[in-house]
């Protein structure tokens, strides 16, 4: 229900849930890519509590999972959070439901990249950094954040 009124968009439009939005391909794709079961998340928030990068995110990890459960792909792929995750596995080892949240984050990055959203390109790295950072840093950033 997109409203083309010429007005400024609502800050917090309601989510109009239907069985189509909930069960559309998005959640299934996240689950397929990550090998995880998003619906298993019961929103305890442990992933966010312990996330070292939470303070850098616009949407906390638990809420990312929540939005995925409700099929809200736009909110997620436009969020900076999926690019901030450092794949440190802190959430993964602590998740009481055994969800590899890091893998979910990778899946969401994949979906975002498929949509043409690339977070990082070679031009964004300074030559001196490129010359000094150990290889896992360089390889990591390209493998995780760029197509």
């Amino acid at each position: 229900m997109s409203e083309k009124t010429g007005l400024a968009p609502s800050k917090s439009p309601p989510i109009r849930l239907t069985r189509e939005t909930v069960n559309a391909g998005f959640k299934k794709r996240v689950d397929a890519l990550s090998g995880q079961h998003t619906d298993a998340c019961y929103q305890c928030g442990n992933c966010s509590s312990g996330c070292p990068l939470a303070q850098e995110m616009d949407i906390l990890p638990n809420r990312i999972l929540r939005l995925a459960q409700l099929g809200q792909s736009d909110d997620i792929i436009n969020s900076c959070s999926i690019w901030i995750c450092a794949s440190c596995f802190q959430c993964t080892v602590r998740c009481p439901k055994g969800i590899d949240i890091q893998a979910v984050m990778d899946a969401l990055r994949q979906i975002a990249m498929d949509e043409g959203i690339d977070h990082f390109g070679p031009d964004q790295i300074s030559p001196e950094l490129a010359a000094s950072v150990p290889q896992p840093g360089l390889v990591g950033v390209y493998r995780k954040l760029a197509t």
Binding site: L33, G35, P52, L53, Q55, E56, W83, I84, A86, S87, C88, F89, Q90, T92, V93, D100, Q102, D106, R109, Q110, M113, H119, F120, Q124, I125, L129, S132, V133, P134, Q135, P136, G137, L138, V139, G140, V141, R143, K144, L145
Partner: protein, 314 residues
């Protein structure tokens, strides 16, 4: 002298080669030799964002298969990323038959027939996870024994307060790595104790340093490193010891940015675990590449030097 198959990985092969050297020096002192694989490729460091997960296991699997085919069953790494990648690859191959078959199909496809026929008359054999991937520190703890280190100490680190820094991938994900308790590990503390130094307790030892965000979101990494370093310092640490070249880089080099952002910050020297080991076993300071560190380690070295006699040549 016993030779153990050794995978240096990209970082230690090149930019952090001084760390590789310290590892080789130290192990010789302990009576075994790190035997670098004849040919090896990059392990990939982190699982990439990719739909084709199996494809990304091919490179590390080839490394492991080569080790197995050369008749060895242990492979040592000293970089946490390599350790994580190789060990998890092994885990996938061992625990998932489909992955194993597909990886081996790729490996077979990708290997010219003569390569293995020439080397050996034996027919193709699938790699099934036979090689045990082992971190050097794990080797010291489980195979050699930390007490062997203590027996071989040539310099005293007594009185030095060292904060262990685990970072992420040495311990996590725990079900695949199984090196230590991811929430309450002890392997580095025990290593520090074996060196006759004093491990420092502080809450940030398993908190991420920002990893590759150092490249994409340097400020985020700077904030994280600041918390880790300050916590270690406030708990009395003279230095931090790490086991991952990227952690080393972040915690050491980021101190420049930290000093700019936080005027009250006092720098804290960072050591690679092989450097401390090597120094303690008597290898001269000059072989450790300390000059490549951003933070001056001299104050710590002075303490070591003043409390003991000399090393090999000092």
């Amino acid at each position: 002298m016993a030779k153990i198959a050794y995978y240096p990985g990209c970082a230690l092969n090149e930019r952090s080669s001084h760390l590789d050297r310290s590892a080789r020096d130290a192990t010789v002192k302990l009576g075994f030799e790190l035997d670098e694989l004849d040919t090896w490729t990059c392990c990939g460091a982190v699982p990439p964002v990719s739909e084709e997960r199996v494809m990304n296991l091919v490179a590390p699997s080839r490394i492991l298969k080569d080790v197995r085919d050369s008749g060895r069953d242990i492979l040592i790494t000293i970089c946490d990323f390599c350790y994580n990648t190789l060990k998890r690859t092994n885990f996938s191959i061992k625990s998932d038959e489909i992955i194993r078959k597909r990886v081996n199909a790729f490996l077979a496809d990708d290997t010219p027939e003569r390569d293995y026929l020439e080397k050996d008359d034996s027919p193709w054999e699938d790699y099934a996870g036979e090689v045990k991937v082992i971190h050097l520190m794990e080797y010291l703890r489980d195979e050699l024994g930390y007490d062997k280190i203590t027996e071989s100490l040539k310099r005293s680190l007594k009185g030095l307060k060292i904060a262990p820094y685990y970072g992420c991938v040495m311990l996590r994900p725990q079900n695949e790595i199984q090196l230590d308790d991811p929430e309450n590990p002890a392997i580095i503390e025990d290593f520090i104790t074996a060196l006759d130094a004093q491990p420092v307790k502080y809450p940030y030892r398993t908190e991420c340093c920002g990893s590759y965000l150092s490249v994409s979101s340097p400020d985020a990494s700077t904030r994280l490193c600041y918390r880790i370093l300050t916590s270690a310092r406030n708990n009395g640490a003279d230095a931090i010891v790490v086991s991952c070249p990227l952690c080393f880089y972040n915690l050491d080099s980021r101190q420049k940015a930290i000093s700019e952002a936080y005027p009250d910050f006092t720098p804290l020297p960072i050591f690679y675990f092989t450097q401390l080991l090597s120094v303690a076993l008597g290898v001269e300071f000059g072989r450790q590449g300390f000059e490549k560190h951003y933070v001056d380690v001299t104050p710590v070295l002075d303490k070591i030097a003043s409390s003991t006699g000399k090393g090999d040549s000092e």
